[in-house]
Amino acid sequence: MRVEVSGSAGPMAAERELKALEGRHEGFDALRQRVLVGQCSEPVAVDDFVVWKALRDPGGALEERIVFDTPDVVRTLTPRRLELLELLRQVDVPSIKDLAIRLRRDYKNTYDDLVALGAWGLVRLLREGKNQRPVALVTGLHVSWEKSVGASPPAP
């Protein structure tokens, strides 16, 4: 039996992605020079160039999907952690402490759950001054026994 848990990252925020690309590289032209002229074979650079080029294209788009092709992730998704994920999607939480208060749980358990979810790429802790702001990276989870991994992207 194969259990597949998939999470949709939702429509990609192009602005956020562009900011991340600018942070990783010196600029689009420098990256283009690196991968086209320098024949760079670094996987991150080539993939980033393809994504960046699409985002610069008028009407270009980026779609994302996260798939867990292993049942191991189910062990991580306890009812309390699902509740935590749901809350993070509903409200903007500025810190782990604030999240713990909203969930009526203690700080340490909340932090431990964020670390466990972060190990599977479901949440991210963004450093903001003294605080770490928890952000959910998925909009929903879907458990399926259908083999949809690698399915063709939806038609434009």
């Binding site: 996987p43 080539v46 699409a54 270009g60 867990f68 191991d72 690698g150 992207p153």
Partner: protein, 100 residues
């Protein structure tokens, strides 16, 4: 209009297959499938199949993520590559990939 479809497929907690595919209308203009393993908190590429520069090929990387060698590869769909990754996992970098 170029659309890019990016997927991260978790095979295990410390192994992922990252897929990037670019489409110009219905035509797929670029694909890359990168099998990465987690080492000391960093995702290190182990094997990568792609058609960068218009040529289907497979790259093998060493433990530091440095390109070790490059060989020919016949384009196959993502589900086939995922099957390979799940079957051979960390042994992939030591295998003759063009025969698979």
């Amino acid at each position: 209009m170029v659309r890019v479809f990016r997927q991260r497929i978790w095979v295990r907690r410390d192994e992922v297959l990252d897929a990037v595919e670019a489409f110009d209308g219905p035509r797929r203009t670029f694909y890359s499938y990168t099998f990465r393993t987690l080492r000391a908190g960093t995702w290190i590429p182990a094997v990568r199949w792609d058609n960068w520069e218009g040529l289907d090929h497979v790259d093998r990387f060493d433990e530091r993520g440095i390109l070790r060698d490059r060989g020919p590869w016949r384009d196959r769909p993502l589900p086939d590559v995922l099957k390979l990754v799940k079957a051979f996992r960390r042994n992939l970098p030591t295998m003759d990939l063009k025969e698979l």
